[in-house]
Symmetry: D2
Subunit: 247 residues, 4 copies
């Protein structure tokens, strides 16, 4: 379980969140420092300052950190401070970035683009593997659907098929897939029951004032409940998630 | 859990299947007598003879039967012999058929069309409810996706959102949603863990010789294993499926 | 060019429209008597009375009429009064209706469903052809897209590919495809320039008070301008539309 | 009309093609030097050498050149040698690249990603405009569809709607939109008749031996015929394409 805020907003916010998700059982902390925003007028993240904040917060919480890279120039900073580098959905076929990120030799969290076929996901991963970096985690975060009731269309069947096609771990991101707080817990449980290797969810101390993605972040209480239910479920299913190897 | 063959092929086939799925814990038997086939050259089903065969088989197995109606003329037969009438995805907006089926006062299993928004599903259900028939079960069976790796794209997030929008039960059909035997068990478990109200799957004594949908039917052994795992999961989650009321 | 209102609303409305579109150069009049409405609470059409109104209006205007059938029971009326029977997108795979409509031996206007592959369209047409009725016109009216800026996504490339795959004529319905008055003229011109065999558009004497699809009907002035531009374009391209054979 | 090979393969190939498309009436030459390939094992382009080849070829042919940039490091070369910089569909939301390309002050050809809503296209353009570069041409090259009969789904209605939403010119790329040689001419004519501002097509001296996109390149004879038909059509419609300003 990877958890944390969409965007790192302040030292207090990321410290508090990292400490909390660690206590609730998460294995890794996420947080955006360089934010890929559809609109240039939206909050673009704290940049390098944000990276340092999450690094400190994770050191205190005893968990590794994953942060997204948007451009090659950010990789030097990320390589120094964080444990895993995320390539977001918008950059899944930004091949220059894939190769440069791969060469940091950090584990890469590669998100499926909303239009990408499974073959295209696998070829994107291949750009990383070919640089000699074997540590790639694939992430289903929803494909573009036709019904505005959910932000995207969570393709659980596709994620499961992806696991049949590759040895790489595949995790679920129900926050971006649905854009609805109420659907995150059921979809994490679904992903676990179906045998995916993990999940990444957005958690914020006070979602209603979040600077981005306010409508899809769990608050601490909701995250605690999710972790309790997930534990109960995993006991039953005897899952052996591969992601723990990253710790 | 509703289980049975895509198409009723013979007395032996449907008797054997009904008895088996009953013993494995299914609550209802499905079987197609009038088959809606994309191609006019494909097997079109046994028709009225098939309806009688599944009625006999279900009487022996002690389970109710659900059969799809393709045309108003078939409703008289179905009303007499079966317990629930299915409206398939291709006819979700065949409003004349919806109304006529509703007037039988049998429970209706209404499948979401592969292009239908949730609003369109709810309006289709409204055509049934307005006839005074309150017993409608909605079924997610996959929307049209862009990746040929799966036959359709199973929209679990949409099905969960549908439950938020209506009091009607919502079940999952992973057989048609994915078209792949290997994905049926994980998606049924996922649907259960996420809180859907039930599932409908294709089961055939010998899938490789089935006259239709051979590639998406479970054999008896796979169905038994699915039911065992589903039981284990349901114990944990304390689910109270509404579908049992139909028995 | 087939033109007329979405729904037949009154004798005056359909008389006026038929006379006008005839004078502007249309070859056929369309008008809905039995309306397939997503919501059961929306205007459902005038039924048999509407069929008689369009038959009278077309007799006066000297043009043939096309009206959609929603159910087999309506075919007797349509067979008697109109020249062509439309099967709407929602019923493209209502195979019982396709076969019954085919047996009237009237030409059939078959609309592509918003999720249908070209193969599925061709198989649906095959259900008609197999009844011995060779007169099928296919119609592209938009597939389900992901951007709410247009009602559907007009698949001109698909319509052209369809013409490569079959000898049947293929026409365009930009009214339903886009749901925007401003896009109808350019898309009709585009369809003509690309070589499709015709178009069907919604025309209403006063779109702002239309009982259905008000936002996608041309008024008389806009339809006149469209026909003038279409004539100029067709002169250049020396198109030989197959649809005129229906007159 | 922008025309040229998918990939620059040799001096002879690009010289011959540039000279030919100039003589046939094209206003600009396209050619890929840095190729964004789904698979890392596919031909990746000649790189800087290719840029120099197209610059020489265009100098001889008397036409400007447009070449795609995949990474910031390529912009120095492109800025020096070519007249317009293309941002491909895979990089439409690679915001760092958009901004860096914008700062060259060269005109930018921005391709719509296959999943992008019109709003997302406009916001991507805004990233360029905000850098002070006003010369952006938008390009529709097909959205992800569900029918493998065409490579993508050419969204002509969306392109026309885009023109209503912005003052920026919008052009069509039917080569990538359909992936079928036979559909390129009709779709260019359609785009012109509908009022789009231009088109970009793939032309190769010998498509069957092209190193990429062999199945969607016109040969010289087909391109000549297209230009003749386009001229006839444009005479009729009195189009005033904005793209000529770029010359």
């Amino acid at each position: 379980m990877i958890a944390g805020p969409c965007a790192i907003e302040s030292r207090a916010q990321i410290d508090l969140t990292a400490k909390f998700v660690a206590s609730a059982g998460a294995q890794m902390v996420r947080g955006g420092a360089y934010k890929p925003r559809t609109s240039p007028y939206a909050f673009q993240g704290l940049g390098e300052e944000g990276v340092k904040l999450i690094a400190d917060a994770c050191a205190n919480a005893g968990l590794p950190a994953v942060v997204e890279a948007l451009a090659e120039a950010q990789l030097l900073v990320l390589e120094w401070y964080v444990d895993m580098i995320q390539i977001g959905a918008r950059n899944m076929q930004n091949f220059a970035l894939l190769q440069a990120a791969a060469r940091t030799m950090k584990p890469i969290l590669l998100k499926r683009a909303p239009f990408a076929t499974l073959d295209e996901v696998l070829y994107a991963a291949e750009y990383i593997l070919l640089e000699g970096n074997p540590n790639v985690v694939l992430c289903e975060r929803g494909v573009r659907g036709f019904d505005p009731q959910t932000r995207n269309l969570f393709d659980l069947g596709g994620a499961l098929r992806l696991k049949e096609l590759t040895h790489l771990p595949v995790i679920a991101d129900p926050s971006h897939a649905t854009g609805r707080v109420s659907l995150i817990e059921p979809l994490v449980l679904a992903a676990a029951a179906a045998g995916l290797d993990g999940a990444i969810v957005e958690v914020h101390p006070e979602p209603s004032v979040a600077l981005s993605d306010a409508e899809q972040a769990l608050d601490f209480e909701a995250f605690s409940r999710l972790m309790r239910r997930l534990d109960a479920l995993r006991g039953t299913l005897e899952l052996k998630p591969k992601l723990t190897a990253l710790k």
